[in-house]
């Protein structure tokens, strides 16, 4: 199988705190790969590492065979034109209308005439169901609409790879359904490769072709949805079932309650 992104034995830390310790994963071309894990594990960090916004301490990350880690700034910017990212907040430019937001990457990176840009923007907005909202400002959109508008912007340049950062977080059931459908349909229709980073288990199991589960600075489980469901790892099962206590403890590490309340002599 052909892989678009390859993370090889990557280690990354912020100050003293180690986020990843020897993580390896591969993202097959044309498929939806999900990366799941508890909050605060550094899932967004992984996307920033793949996008070259952060540098790993050791290990390598390649995009279509080229090492992101060793790229010059110019090469990195060239490569980024082939990838795009849907941020959790949407990250629409608040001083531009939805139309201008979607047109932004086209105006920056192409020499297309305004009429061609208008046509492309309309098509992209049609794909996410927001053609009627083209002239609205981001502040006039609901959370779900903002994310769809950002998705239209993310596919404006027809990238090879699209990275979704928590696309389902804070969405109502209808918006969630719309986003799930869009991610699947866009991936297949545009022959994209998608990485979805999320902790919404149910949604991801329905759309992902391959799943990695991150916890404890490494990958603790991987496989197709079926394989993951039948994994014998306690940690994976705790995560899938949403149990409060288990290998990931409910309590943040602390001395015993008895000891702190009554003193050490007890």
């Amino acid at each position: 199988m052909d892989y678009l992104v390859n993370v090889d034995n990557m280690t990354f830390s912020r100050g003293e705190r180690v986020i990843y310790d020897g993580v390896s994963l591969r993202v097959p071309k044309g498929k939806i790969t999900a990366v799941m894990g508890p909050s605060g594990i550094g899932k967004t960090t992984l996307l920033k590492l793949i996008g070259g916004q952060l540098q790993p301490d050791s290990g390598d990350i390649t995009f279509d065979g080229d090492s992101i880690v060793n790229m010059s700034r110019r090469e990195l910017y060239q490569t980024r034109r082939r990838m795009s990212m849907l941020f959790q907040s949407g990250a629409l430019f608040t001083d531009m209308s939805v139309f201008d937001n979607v047109a932004f990457p086209l105006r920056e990176h192409t020499k297309l005439s305004e009429s061609v840009i208008a046509t492309i923007v309309s098509l992209k907005l049609q794909a996410v169901g927001l053609r009627g909202a083209a002239q609205l400002m981001p502040s006039e959109l609901s959370g779900g609409m903002a994310r769809r508008a950002a998705l239209a912007r993310a596919i404006a340049l027809d990238p090879d790879l699209i990275m979704y950062d928590e696309p389902f977080a804070g969405q109502d059931p209808i918006s969630m359904g719309v986003l799930v459908k869009l991610i699947r349909e866009l991936n297949d229709a545009l022959n994209l490769t998608s990485i979805v980073v999320t902790h919404d288990v149910t949604e991801v199991l329905t759309i992902a072709d391959y799943i990695y589960i991150l916890a404890d600075k490494r990958i603790i489980g991987e496989g197709t949805a079926e394989q993951i469901k039948h994994s014998d790892s306690e940690l994976v099962q705790q995560f899938l079932r949403g149990e409060a206590d288990g290998p990931v403890p409910f309590h943040y590490p602390a001395p015993s309650l008895q000891e702190s309340m009554l003193g050490e002599e007890v």
Partner: protein, 258 residues
């Protein structure tokens, strides 16, 4: 021993922040100005310059009026009220115009720049620019920097001009100083190079410092509500102190050593 460690840490933090600030400005300015950036810069001149006009004009008017009033009461004791014009004009052109404009600019436009860039960072707009292969330093930082550099000297000149008119209003129209002597002594006393150009140079230096601090504080802010509020406050405090300190140095260089 803790305080020694604290001093060391603070020093290292300051040095590294200065380095980051330098790199940010270098990254923003190294690129040749692109045609695409011209409309962005014009928009920013409107935001930081034109929208600061009201506060600059009102402050300039009142400061000119107060100076004339204060100057008149002192000069009249010596029968020298004819020198009111040059007194008002020189104080404004050499000192108050550049300095007060820079202080007002820091409060009105500098804080807005910091908050805007800080919020762009918090809402991931800067990250999304980077991921769209658009350098935020060139797209966001450079136009705002050039807008500050262009706007502040013009605002300072407007401030001084309005202040001189304010001085005329009080000195001539109200207190009865002779209009001819107000203007003619001013004309013969104020030197183009020494007074006007030096004032503009001061203003350019202040523009560099205030805009740089404002942009860097936003760009380097911790992207939380507390972080942005702290960065905004620091912009106003640091740039005000820098302006006042630099004003002394520049005054000493320009007027102190004959």
């Amino acid at each position: 021993m803790n305080w020694i460690r604290q001093i060391g840490r603070t020093t290292l933090d300051r040095v590294s922040a200065t380095g980051r600030a330098g790199l940010m400005l270098f990254g923003a300015l190294i690129a040749p100005p692109s045609i695409k950036n011209i409309p962005l810069t014009i928009k920013q001149v409107y935001v930081v310059g034109v929208q600061s006009l009201a506060i600059i004009i009102v402050s300039g008017l009142f400061i000119g009026m107060v100076m004339a009033l204060q100057g008149y009461t002192i000069l009249t004791d010596y029968g020298a009220e004819g020198s009111l014009g040059p007194m008002v004009a020189l104080s404004l052109l050499r000192e108050l115009g550049p300095v007060v404009t820079a202080l007002l600019f820091a409060g009105r436009a500098g804080s807005a720049l910091t908050a805007e860039i800080g919020l762009m960072k918090a809402t991931e707009q800067l990250s999304s620019l980077e991921m769209m292969a658009v350098d935020p330093l060139r797209r966001v930082v450079a136009p705002r920097f050039w807008a500050g550099m262009l706007s502040m000297p013009m605002l300072a000149l407007i401030f001084s001009a309005v202040g001189i008119l304010g001085g005329h209003l009080v000195g001539v129209d109200w207190l009865g100083v002779d209009a001819g002597s107000y203007w003619s002594i001013m004309q013969s006393t104020v030197d183009w190079d020494k007074d006007v150009i030096n004032g503009v140079i001061k203003s350019l230096v202040f523009a560099l410092v205030v805009t740089w601090i404002a942009i860097f504080k936003g760009y380097d802010s911790i992207p939380t509500s507390e972080g942005i509020s702290q960065a905004t406050t620091q912009t106003v405090v640091f740039s005000s102190l820098a302006v006042l300190g630099l004003d002394f140095v520049l005054t000493a260089l320009m007027f102190g050593i004959e």
